[in-house]
Symmetry: C2
Subunit: 224 residues, 2 copies
């Protein structure tokens, strides 16, 4: 079993956008060449439209990639925004992820939602119709989002070969078992299978912290 | 099924020490008179010795009960303290629970531990040997705890009749299945059975938020 754990992870990096563990199945599964499973814990973050980038950061502004994410072409940007909820509660510095998108969207953990006073709906990314809004404040301007504040539904990216190996297809549901000092089974992971994605589970900080993913000694992705 | 859910819960109460849901088993289980199951989400809190109460709040000070907890004799106190971690990070207002205890202890979720910069060990309450310390600041004084900062191990209180009904004994492990829009199974719940406790699961805010306990439509306590 190969493992990258908390001993190699700087627990100090509260502001970091993604924490990851990489585990391979041991024994028979490894012999069967099961694909490497990456579990990424996404901290709260914001996706923006080109238009909103310009409003928040100034006319003509483009996002500046700071750090590539595991999926090719995606990155954490240098830019952050303030997210303001109802009753003037706010999160002062929420990371922007790139590239830009057709709709702006704020992805928070429930812990964040409670501290902001927003009752978060659980939605797959992009399905934001009827969700709560918020105010985004940048160094050059302010955007009032009418909707788009969600808890992202836990999901797993994979390519079609991985899907075949696991015996699932796009839109199916799987289970993630995380063995640690506080073992958790997360159900209903949405399968997002396409031609090119790397195998990667996305969970949020509440889920990662509930299961202590940083100190996990095994993770298993299972058919539901 | 009888249920107290988020529609009745003030999500605004970040500072509240306990959120609870009460669910009865439906169908056959209800017919078999399965005991009422209360799931309580404990927010970060502090237990203090008599001596530390006096250091923090002044000579002769006694804790003032503010709100009774579900277990008889226990209460959230009016008193709060500041918890200071390494590198001068802090939580400004952490609730004290009463009554006082032989050892002071700080119970945090991992989310809190990360924001404080403390790598929390998972421990049953009272087993604090070798755990990290912190500084507690009250209105009248300061206490440096050499140890006692933990993530409380998830557990279930019950009396001996409940234990017999579930077929478990003190020290056993059970599973808690929480059905919601983000269903989670929490494993390794420690059974704390004695003559008088009410049936109550204690989980922390990370676990409660991972599973969206506030909006759960069913919980099941199961033998492991």
């Amino acid at each position: 079993m190969t493992m990258t754990t908390a001993s190699q992870i700087d627990r100090d990096a509260v502001e970091r956008i993604v924490r990851q563990i990489v585990l391979r199945q041991s024994g028979a599964a490894a012999a069967a060449a099961e694909p490497k499973l990456v579990v990424s814990i996404s901290a709260r973050h914001v996706h923006l439209t080109d238009e909103h980038v310009e409003v928040l950061f100034g006319a003509g502004h483009k996002l500046t990639p700071q750090k590539p994410l595991y999926q090719d072409g995606f990155y954490a940007a240098e830019e952050t925004v303030m997210v303001v909820g109802p009753r003037r509660r706010m999160l002062p510095s929420v990371r922007v992820l790139g590239p830009t998108r057709p709709h702006s969207q704020v992805e928070l953990a429930f812990t964040d939602g409670i501290s902001l006073g927003i009752d978060l709906p659980v939605r797959p990314s992009g399905k934001i119709s009827g969700t709560p809004g918020c105010v985004l404040v940048g160094p050059q301007g302010v955007v009032e989002l009418k909707e788009g504040v969600i808890r992202a539904e836990r999901h797993v990216h994979m390519n079609l070969d991985h899907a075949a190996q696991y015996g699932v297809k796009n839109g199916d549901r799987m289970r993630l078992r995380i063995d640690s000092s506080c073992t958790v089974v997360l159900e209903d992971l949405l399968v997002r299978a396409d031609a090119t994605s790397k195998l990667e589970v996305h969970i949020d900080t509440d889920e990662g912290n509930a299961a202590d993913v940083d100190h996990a000694w095994r993770v298993e992705l299972l058919k539901q």
